[in-house]
Subunit: 147 residues, 2 copies
Amino acid sequence: MTKPITNARALPIGAASRLAGVNIETIRYYERIGLLARPERTAGGNRVYDEAAVARLGFIRRCRELGFSIDEIRELLSMVDRRDYSCAEVHRLTVAHHRSIMGRVAALQRMAAVLDGMASQCDRGDLPDCPIIEALQDDRRPAGGRP
Amino acid sequence: MTKPITNARALPIGAASRLAGVNIETIRYYERIGLLARPERTAGGNRVYDEAAVARLGFIRRCRELGFSIDEIRELLSMVDRRDYSCAEVHRLTVAHHRSIMGRVAALQRMAAVLDGMASQCDRGDLPDCPIIEALQDDRRPAGGRP
DNA sequence: CTACAATCTGTAGCCACTACAGAAGCAAGG
DNA sequence: CCTTGCTTCTGTAGTGGCTACAGATTGTAG
């Protein structure tokens, strides 16, 4: 919460975007889907943000960088907003997300192993019968190598 | 009734779908985007497939299972269709795809490491100041832990 | 012939943005 | 005040790779 952003109280969307590291279009998108409150406006109708909004955007960005979905972030934010969230809730969400990432890693690694096996059978010559293509065509030798 | 599809020459879309392991809607989608040739039709207008089409669908499915994009599959199919594709081309595509998968794995593993670190700091008590939330809020301790 | 299943076309939705078009606001210099 | 030039506005459409309908038609077994 201690931010060394000097005296910037009224930031137009471009400044908020740069400070938070979130695209202008994305900020408007977050507002549209209700992830971010509608900000004040200038007399002419331009959005005006304050440090709190920039901090919230930073929170969202960091969550996204960690792969949380918008709905998960919505949940995290609502916990924060309640102010009486329990650590256990947050922990549960984080661990569940961690598990799902590990699942994706495992799936990708299975793919990579098959690809590696196929590529290593290929001698990169000018054969008309590429082992890779053969492996992909043959359904008795399933590409996934699954049981 | 599991019919042994020995001499099935004229398959309606449902049978092709079951044989190839590709959804009916997906088959029509592949046709729409030009990945699959438009098949013959019955007098009434229903699609009719043959074994070659089913084999092609199987090829596509196996490529998808290995994470190839539609455009990559389009390229692979065009090589196969040319009949004089070189093994080197196929190998290059496969290796490039492998590399991109490894990149995604690395990115996910970085996320997982940060999540793991955050979760392990949390004692799951009923603290109002959850270390996970703190980490997500604090922009001097970037969640990504990136150098 | 009559059920009932399968298939048809076309459209809209998913996720999390991104990319415009065309209009209007805003700040500085003259 | 006026122009210049950047920024921001709204609204819509596109991305990838499907999936899910609605409402109509076709195919088929009894």
